[in-house]
């Protein structure tokens, strides 16, 4: 049913429909509206779950790990400093193959303290073994939670998943969202079937230590699961399209790329602005397009390479910076397109909530035309 709703409430609603048995979360801006809404649902018997009000994000994810290992579907949400505090547990959850789904309401990392949006938080966990989905709008944020659970819990995958959506820009914005019913979600997402669980009737040991004789094989299996997840994501996306009419069967969404000379690569809410800017530039005869990365982990190398085949220049918009190297996405795209003859230019933008408008996108196209890139865009030079 189409409803005008805040992003956080849409995410809380869909989290409820995914029927988590245990929710463990710690409040942090701008994630609070989600966990408040879930607490309200539990208090009013709309969500039949154990809600653990933990004392830190570190414990939130640790409790989720325990609940998942005991055989429950679990849910949590966090952002920024909270995710940083979870760093150790994130690697652990992935290594222990627990298919936990967690919303990341993307926010910058301090210092300096900033509650506003960029994607440094989830990007910094890129090597942790979690699937990473990025939503452009609140509809996509809603839909990706269903897909994330389905993919994460698939026995060919068994990896945890972040569903990332931009703090404030999406989380606190009211948009129309076509919210499925409980029955529709049930029809799409089957009940959780754990591959292993802690059970006195069939005792197993989980989380044992591995000597050099075994450790590397565990990591190899994780990477194989990541690679297998590509097909599972496509399948789950296609099934979603069949049931709900919105198509997520691709890891990369191409927008007006067919005859494009300059292609943007971006993730998250900025893609909406980029699409609008592209429409205007197209009207003015400029051949620009967008390859939107929906799945950052696994990195969609094959799809992205195919999508960019005809372009001469790629402008990567990075809402993060790997200090000392450049934007994280830009770095990977450069590696991916090395030797292709395509020029890849990276733009660090929108850090700490710095606004990006259509005219900024047009300005970046002008820079890309001149071959100027690998830079921070939108700096206030007067305060440097």
């Amino acid at each position: 049913m189409l409803q005008i709703t805040e992003g956080s409430h849409a995410v809380a609603e869909i989290a409820k429909f995914c029927r988590p048995q245990v929710v463990a979360a710690y409040p942090i801006t701008p994630q609070t509206h989600i966990v408040e809404a879930l607490a309200d649902m539990v208090a009013n018997c709309e969500l039949d779950a154990e809600y653990i009000t933990v004392e830190s994000e570190f414990s939130a994810l640790s409790a989720c790990l325990g609940a998942s290992a005991a055989g429950s579907r679990v849910y949590s949400a966090t952002t920024s400093q909270g995710l940083a505090l979870m760093f150790e547990v994130c690697f652990n959850v992935a290594g222990m193959r627990q298919p936990i789904v967690m919303s990341i309401v993307n926010r910058s990392l301090g210092a300096p303290l900033s509650i506003w949006n960029d994607q440094q938080d989830s990007i910094s966990l890129r090597d942790s073994g979690w699937l990473q989905f990025y939503a452009e709008d609140n509809q996509e944020a809603t839909d990706l939670h269903m897909i994330a659970y389905k993919v994460a819990e698939d026995h060919d995958v068994l990896l945890p998943a972040f569903v990332c959506f931009d703090g404030f820009i999406l989380s606190h914005t009211y948009e129309p969202v076509d919210m499925p019913s409980q029955e529709e979600v049930d029809a799409y997402l089957p009940a959780f079937t754990p591959y292993h669980r802690l059970d006195a009737k069939d005792p197993i040991s989980m989380g044992m230590y591995a000597t050099p004789d075994y450790y590397m094989e565990f990591r190899y299996e994780l990477e194989r699961a990541m690679q297998r997840s590509i097909d599972v994501i496509k399948r789950a996306g296609a099934e979603f399209a069949e049931q709900f009419g919105r198509d997520y069967s691709a890891l990369v969404e191409s927008y007006r790329l067919d005859d494009a000379e300059i292609a943007f690569i971006a993730m998250g809410s900025i893609c909406g602005t980029v699409k609008d800017a592209i429409d205007e530039m197209r009207d003015a005869g400029k051949k620009v397009g967008l390859a939107k990365i929906r799945t950052y982990r696994p990195f969609p190398t094959e799809e992205l390479t195919r999508a960019l085949a005809g372009v001469s220049t790629v402008a990567v918009l990075d809402k993060n910076i790997s200090l000392g190297s450049g934007g994280a996405v830009g770095t990977e795209v450069k590696a991916m397109l090395a030797g292709s003859g395509i020029t890849v230019l990276d733009y660090i933008i929108a850090l700490g909530g710095r606004d990006v408008r259509k005219r900024d996108i047009a300005a970046i196209v002008d820079l890309a035309d001149k071959g100027v890139g690998d830079m921070f865009y939108g700096l206030r030079t007067e305060v440097l």
């Binding site: 048995q21 463990a24 653990i52 414990s59 790990l65 325990g66 075994y214």
Partner: protein
């Protein structure tokens, strides 16, 4: 108490603990008390490492290890999950003193404040043994460890042992107890009692470490007994914050306990440090006074 056929322990033999390992005995005893219907959450540490080198495990009950400091939080999630599924297994944390007194305090405090139905067992060998005998908040005064070594201008660890049972009792824990592997029946009874008490319960079991403390492997139980007999360790039970039971002793001087361990050797050699021994005796005297452990002579 769960019954087991001799030789079919739930904590299986063949693990890699040192000969004479106190914590290994603690694990065996506690699983004798829990029986099969238990789930164990371990912290990183000696016991985790010697009992579960992949692909071998000594645990014949479901067992999980996540990180050093999060066992209480993991257990919170397991307990919530079991409750939701209507399952009956008891959830236990089995963690060392470093994981309990130091790095895991936040998670333990949270779990106890929230009132999860878990039993937290700290096997206390009074230092970080797995990493090579570094001091923890549980290390007693004047013990020499690799990070609090006795030296020309130090007599070892300069802080008294943290009072963890009192901290957890202050959280409103319905049952808090101390125990010793040297008194196995008492320890097992306490584990059973904790398991049968709803809410978060804490047991701190003294588990001497021959390698870290420096005594012969065959002496483990004797050393644990001497700790009790000298008042360096007090076995008690607290119910709803009140001490309800204390192991009484005819107290021996602390020197009898100290002089048999290399970690206190610097108090006796090259020269005797009477002032330091007196300080430790004062700690034991305070313990005796606080808990009333002394068996009084009849007048």
């Amino acid at each position: 108490m769960a019954e087991h056929v001799a030789g079919c322990e739930l904590f299986e033999s063949g693990h890699r603990a040192c000969g004479g390992c106190g914590p290994a005995l603690a694990a065996r005893l506690l699983l004798n008390a829990t029986g099969e219907n238990a789930i164990v959450v371990a912290s990183t540490g000696c016991m985790e490492v010697f009992s579960t080198p992949y692909p071998e495990t000594a645990w014949k009950v479901p067992w999980i290890h996540s990180l050093f400091e999060n066992a209480a939080a993991v257990a919170s999630g397991i307990e919530a999950s079991l409750k939701r599924q209507g399952r009956s297994e008891k959830v236990l944390c089995v963690c060392g003193d470093g994981a309990t007194f130091d790095i895991g305090v936040l998670c333990i405090s949270g779990a106890f404040e929230r009132g999860h139905d878990i039993t937290y067992i700290c096997y206390d060998n009074e230092a970080y043994m797995n990493t090579g005998i570094q001091r923890s908040g549980a290390t007693p005064y004047d013990a020499s460890t690799t990070t609090s070594p006795a030296g020309a201008c130090s007599t070892g660890n300069q802080r008294p042992k943290k009072d963890m049972p009192a901290i957890l009792a202050a959280h409103g824990a319905p049952y808090v107890a101390t125990a010793s592997i040297s008194y196995p029946q008492d320890f097992m009874k306490k584990v059973e009692k904790a398991l049968n008490t709803p809410g978060p319960c804490y047991i701190q079991v003294h588990a001497p470490c021959c390698t870290g403390w420096g005594f012969e492997a065959g002496e483990t139980l004797n050393i644990g007994k001497l700790a009790i007999e000298t008042g360096m360790w007090v076995n008690f039970e607290m119910e709803n914050g009140e001490v309800t039971k204390v192991k009484k002793v005819k107290r021996k001087p602390v020197e009898e306990y100290l002089s048999r361990q290399k970690r206190f050797r610097h108090l006796f050699k090259p020269q005797r440090r009477d002032a330091e021994i007196a300080k430790i005796q004062a700690i034991a005297d305070r313990n005796a006074e606080k808990y009333g452990i002394d068996i009084k002579k009849k007048e």
